[in-house]
């Protein structure tokens, strides 16, 4: 029997191909009825993809274990919210989700008034449809979520307990939205380059898409980190794992891209920078998918399916070749007539110079992290032994470079666009500079002489004061938004530094009534509790937290044993303040004697706080300004 989902996907595939053909012939022959056909075909294909997703969703909610994908990722007793998120718990479902998001964006391009001139929408959608066809082919012939099982089981295998968390409900859709969004600017560029358009309208049109996608990508990375922190139980949020790095690659190039697109018009090399960054960023979103699905690198996260990886690699090669060809054959279009980049002293301190230097540093971080991630592959190919680099390599590369880029970010608001008069510079720099120096001395004391951390805090506070000072001095909407994003980044820097430096790790075996001292806190262990449910039982402990004599709160960690699974899953307890987090992991027990693993991380909350300030700033930038009459 063929399921509804498969029929709908076939329909979508046929219609997408039809839309591409009618689109091309319609544009060539200026045939309006064909263009209307194309538009309608795309619309219906999007609707049928939506229908396919809904039918899979119905299968999950209705416990339809005829589908292998549902069997693998769900069970009857799973809470409803996780039955929904189980849709993207596996490989084929996450591809379907990605395709769905991409399809919704396609409709926005089609029906937004802004893109209606000269059939631009149809041209752009042709490029997007080519990618959608690829996804549909993958979903139909390589990794189908609608594959049937021969014998229908009574219940499913259940969802990996680690994926049963709010983080994994929101993280994949957000990340895929970020990934998908970078296809649209790429399509704009391809269309304009193909028709040799001199006006470079793509520069203007790309901006909102890049800003939006950058925000989603950032949110995707942060929610991923948050999930790792609250769910994986080792106390970190970033492990420089290949899969994590794969989402960082496009983020780094996209960050450079956002800044390039913010440059005022008529600067030299703006177009070239933007085109290269748009193309590279899009390629990296595809590359990330290849990396996570090919199994070429060892990763705790990786899906392993060889065929899919090879297909992605082939597609990557084709897109890269097309981009390279377009870029080189149309290089004349990418020349800017504007001022040339001259690093004379009067231009040293300017927003323009700082953006250019920052872009170079972003690319350096990208190249460094990229080479590090690929090093197992590189050493396997060119050397006689595979060599894997661990976190310390990435720290060595990224910490100095990030500090440079954040220092430049701190200087940028006190500079004017083209050049800054030395007297103005002095007038604006003394306050942030002084604040930075005081913080440097202060944090040098409290971190027991940790130079990098002191430098990092100093640079953060320097930038923070510089941005606040300029917001107070003179501000308009877009500038305020950009500065808020910068401030968010600084808060994250402070959090990341604090959580790496102010760390305490305690492992202790305790009996009921015992206390554990961590930092200024005293934790009291009352014993273990066991709770029996219908499908599982849970062993947990709840510690009371005291500071001096005052009771602050509770910290609960539990191990859950589900009947459907042989292995327990651990829930960590987190007690969070702006100063520090206490992180409890119930490691083991014998009757009422328990082993507790308690960690203390400084300033973690500032990371999550910073991310919200970033979203707020982006919102301020993206809300259209009221037109003055």
């Amino acid at each position: 029997m063929v399921s509804t989902g498969v029929v709908l996907l076939y329909l979508a595939l046929g219609l997408s191909i039809y839309a591409i053909i009618t689109g091309i012939t319609g544009i060539k022959g200026h045939n309006h009825s064909l263009l209307t056909h194309s538009r309608r075909a795309t619309t219906i294909s999007v609707i049928s993809i939506g229908g396919a997703a809904l039918s899979l969703l119905r299968a999950f909610i209705g416990n339809d274990f005829r589908f292998a994908y549902v069997v693998r990722n769900s069970e009857r007793s799973l809470p409803l919210v996780y039955k929904i998120s189980a849709l993207w718990a596996g490989q084929s479902g996450s591809l379907l989700l990605w395709l769905l998001i991409l399809s919704i964006m396609t409709l926005i391009v089609h029906y937004h008034k802004r893109y209606r001139e000269e059939e631009l929408d149809t041209k752009v959608v042709i490029v997007i449809n080519l990618v959608r066809v690829l996804f549909l082919v993958l979903l139909l012939f390589v990794t189908s979520p609608f594959e049937m099982v021969e014998v229908v089981p009574r219940d499913g295998n259940g969802l990996n307990p680690m994926l049963q968390s709010l983080g994994m409900v929101i993280h994949p859709p957000i990340l895929f939205t970020g990934f998908s969004g970078f296809l649209i600017p790429f399509a704009f560029v391809v269309v304009d380059l193909l028709k040799r358009d001199k006006e470079a309208g793509w520069l203007r049109r790309s901006r909102p898409w890049v800003l939006f996608s950058w925000t989603m990508l950032t949110a995707g990375i942060v929610t991923g980190g948050q999930w790792a922190y609250t769910e994986l139980g080792w106390g970190g949020y970033w492990a420089w794992d290949p899969v994590e790095n794969a989402s960082l690659f496009p983020w780094l190039t996209a960050t450079a891209l956002v800044h390039t697109l913010m440059m005022p018009k008529g600067k030299r090399h703006t177009k070239l920078w933007s085109v290269v960054l748009i193309m590279v960023t899009f390629l990296l979103t595809i590359f990330g998918t290849f990396l996570t699905r090919s199994g070429v690198l060892d990763s705790v996260h990786a899906f392993s399916s060889g065929v899919l990886g090879q297909i992605f690699l082939a597609v990557l090669g084709i897109i890269a070749a097309v981009s390279l060809y377009l870029g080189i054959s149309r290089r004349g279009l990418l020349q800017d007539e504007g001022e040339s980049a001259d690093f004379t002293p009067s231009h040293w301190f300017s927003k323009w110079t700082s953006i250019q230097i920052a872009n170079v540093v972003f690319l350096l971080i990208f190249v460094g992290v990229f080479l590090g991630t690929m090093f197992p592959l590189i050493s396997r190919t060119f050397g006689d032994r595979e060599i894997v680099l661990d976190e310390s390599f990435y720290h060595q590369i990224s910490i100095p470079l990030f500090l440079i880029v954040l220092f430049i970010m701190g200087i940028s608001p006190i500079c004017d666009w083209d050049s800054t008069h030395p007297r103005l510079l002095l007038r604006r720099v003394w306050m942030p500079g002084l604040a930075g120096m005081i913080i440097a001395l202060f944090s040098y004391r409290i971190s027991d002489g940790h130079v990098t951390a002191s430098l990092s805090f100093a640079i953060g506070v320097f930038g923070l004061v510089a941005h606040l000072q300029e917001i107070v001095r003179k501000c308009h909407k877009r500038k305020l938004g950009a500065y808020l994003v910068h401030i968010g980044i600084i808060l994250m820097l402070i959090g990341i530094t604090g959580s790496s430096v102010f760390v305490e790790d305690v492992f202790q075996t305790v009996n009921p009534g015992d206390t554990v001292a961590v930092g200024d806190y005293v934790l009291e262990y009352p014993g273990l509790q066991v709770k029996w449910g219908i499908y599982h039982h849970t062993v947990s402990t709840t510690l009371d937290i005291y500071k001096g004599d005052s009771f602050l709160g509770e910290l609960t960690s539990a191990k859950t044993f589900r009947d459907s699974q042989k292995q327990p899953s651990t829930d960590v307890g987190i007690f969070s303040t702006f100063k520090e987090d206490l992180y409890l992991n119930l490691a083991g027990w014998q009757s009422q004697t328990a082993q507790l693993h308690i960690q203390r991380f400084g300033l973690v909350r500032w990371i999550w706080l910073g991310s919200f300030v970033i979203y707020l700033g982006m919102l301020v930038i993206m809300i259209p300004a009221k037109k003055r009459s």
């Binding site: 693998r72 139980g233 899969v243 350096l364 595979e386 390599f393």
Partner: protein, 174 residues
């Protein structure tokens, strides 16, 4: 005519001089700037001054990254060895990365320290290792275990990092 002679001849025909200072400061250098900026770089062949400028500007970031990568490499590189290779290896201090399957019934766990002892096998040989850390939740059902660590002077393999390949029951994370 040898190649070097050709090069010399070419160099003589066209020599471009460029002051290092002009790369950063434009043509005129005030005297208060450091002396090394007055170094003159001699370009040979048809390379014009502007190109040298660009090349020099490119070299700074490349050198910076090269330096950072080189320093980072020293302590972080872990060399992939199969278990059979490891057993034949002379004890040395370098970090090794080993992949293998868990030997059944080899797992010993002392929760109070915590200390985890287990053996990995590649089918032919097996290697016993020590890990001073908490037993991971799905340890005994992992398909494949990846470890990183070093031999200590007593030739015990001390695991510093323990990674589990997801059990096949779930498709994987993320």
């Amino acid at each position: 005519m040898t190649l070097s002679a050709k090069w010399t001849a070419k160099a003589v025909t066209k020599v471009t001089k460029i002051k290092l200072s002009s790369v950063f400061l434009g043509e005129s250098v005030p005297s208060r700037f450091p002396h090394f900026l007055n170094t003159t770089i001699v370009g040979v062949g048809s390379m014009p001054g502007k190109k040298i400028k660009i090349v020099l500007l490119f070299m700074i970031p490349v050198l910076l990254l090269g330096y950072l990568a080189f320093r980072g490499f020293e302590n972080s590189a872990a060399y992939y060895y199969t278990i059979s290779e490891v057993l034949a290896l002379e004890t040395n201090g370098s970090k090794l990365r080993i992949k293998g399957e868990l030997v059944e019934d080899s797992v010993e766990y002392n929760p109070e320290l915590p200390l985890l002892k287990f053996s990995l096998t590649d089918g032919d040989h097996s290697l016993a290792v020590r890990y001073e850390g908490v037993l991971p939740d799905n340890f005994e059902h992992a398909d494949e275990v990846i470890i990183e660590g070093k031999f200590n002077p007593e030739r015990e393999f001390i695991v510093s990092k323990l990674m589990l390949q997801c059990p096949s029951k779930y498709e994987g994370e993320e």
